[in-house]
Symmetry: C2
Subunit: 355 residues, 2 copies
Amino acid sequence: MASNPPASSPAIVRVTVHDVARAAGVSIGTVSRVVNGAPTVKAEARERVNRAIAELGWSPSVAAQAMRGVSTRMVGFIFSDIRNPLYAAMVKGAEDVFTQNGYLLVVASSDGDPEREMALIDLFSRRKAEGLLFTVEQESHAGVRKSLAAARIPTVLLERELSPAVAAVGADHYSGTRQAVEYLLGLGHRRIALLSGGRNNRVGRDRLRGVMDAHRAAGVTLDESLLRVESFSSDYAFRQTQLLLSLPQPPTALIAAGMHLLSGVLPAVRMKGLRIPQDLSLIASNDSPLAQLATPSISVIRYDAYALGREAALLLLHKLKAGEDAQEVRVEVPTELLIRESCAAPSNQAVIASA
Amino acid sequence: MASNPPASSPAIVRVTVHDVARAAGVSIGTVSRVVNGAPTVKAEARERVNRAIAELGWSPSVAAQAMRGVSTRMVGFIFSDIRNPLYAAMVKGAEDVFTQNGYLLVVASSDGDPEREMALIDLFSRRKAEGLLFTVEQESHAGVRKSLAAARIPTVLLERELSPAVAAVGADHYSGTRQAVEYLLGLGHRRIALLSGGRNNRVGRDRLRGVMDAHRAAGVTLDESLLRVESFSSDYAFRQTQLLLSLPQPPTALIAAGMHLLSGVLPAVRMKGLRIPQDLSLIASNDSPLAQLATPSISVIRYDAYALGREAALLLLHKLKAGEDAQEVRVEVPTELLIRESCAAPSNQAVIASA
DNA sequence: TTGTAAGCGTTATCAC
DNA sequence: GTGATAACGCTTACAA
């Protein structure tokens, strides 16, 4: 009795190829051949091995396989914060694709900190992630770019771009914003404000370009003091809306391009006692339950973040297969303008004031 | 020239302990001791090794370490869909804790499918995840419970419970719901409807208990036909709200307990031409931009999903450290009732009708 | 204090 | 066809 193994240790015995080989009466080489689908195994031996595997409930050790250079089938996804519903949708889109292809998706939040981005790239590199989905915070950050290059991981950017070119998937914010501005211009607005973030990335630049090109094409002069593009936060939107509406010549229309901005704009507008759309026309982006069900409902520039995630995953999968000679392409996801109740022609008073 | 290695293969040489040892003029054993912080290394040797590591940019192979049984420092999180903002917040809370402790969090969506939950548990087990955060879909599903037991991974449940007991963290939905019902009862409501999901899990059961206990304590008979607890989807909420409001004796108050329900309830109420709170009092859960900024603003039962994720991560970390002799405790996260503009005393007409 | 060598569980290359 | 056996890069006794 005293010589028994202590009852408290449940003797968790790892079953290995050796156990399977012994049970099947073959060598470990044959077991390996069977599980890796080598053709040079007699049907009878294959049969015995498979039975032994089933009986013992064995499956190859991922760690040991990784050491032998077998692919980890793991990809990483770095973005600032999963609590942004757009990222959540992208993650789900990517996850669905990767899962279907036997890959594991590891997500990591950077909180928008380049240092943390670098640490995460390094982490994924050390863990032998095979690919990377990445929404880099600052496209121009030298350290991050160096880390990314050093890691030598096939990468697809989401909503960002880098040069020299890295494969990327992004929504067509240029067209979306331009279309929105053209719509407002068509209603008669001449003072259109833009609230957005992303001075340092493609999303912000594309929106800015969309606003400018729409004005230029319509022959309308753009008042650059109406452009507030420093942050995507709700607080920023609240403050800037207050500031904008207190201007001697306030805007008659406002585009809030960023997931969290609408919930900053609305309180500011209400505090000011203004009515939408009579006193201020409003277009938000992306779509949300709030935009749909606010009173009045809010027109939005919409795109499918889930599809964006899917496309990015598909593109990365393609790069993984193509290897060295993969092209660094860019995929665009369309945007659309959803007209609801938040826009109208500017009031006479506003038009006169801005004349 | 012809004998040169082909230019197309950039000769990616993995640097190993051996390279470091050679560069530092020591043996691999010493290198290993240095990186693992063994005290028995002369300062001078340690110095040389560290310099060599820095020069060569070496870091230990995670795969090789895993094979030697070194912890993978990886934990998994299984839930139905990351697009639910509550899960996103929980993930962020957990991620922040794990990151700080050198762990990698791998998230996986099950889409609420028990088969997929089982596959994921198996996957995490094979990948040697050290711990698991899990929001099981159906607490009573035998297959999932068996898989979980077989995997032998320390687990913490979020918003769920299992018997025999597994450590768990959940919001205090019982008190939250009970408080909400008491508030409505106090306003004079006698026909209070509950919209929720989760017949198969603790969240749903706790809410049901909260509703019943509040009625019992107040001596008010509960009309069970007002309880619609089959799904958390927006569509379900829309349809059931229509049905409820078409009843001969419709409810005078409605609790929509589930993240996506409010955006189903609101359109249904509006289509019916009813006013909130004059014709119908409404309480939602959890809080959201929509609830805050709808007109009128919606009272909510609120809890901090981020904190819930944090607590769960902390608890799992604790279990990981405690090992065998960890207690399977349960942690409760408080809920609070946020009063806004969506509740009022029932109209005379309604009171008379229900009398 | 340090070097040597034996594994860890695979896969792949040999002979047989 | 199949069985030995040598890596893979690390950790850890055990020797020195």
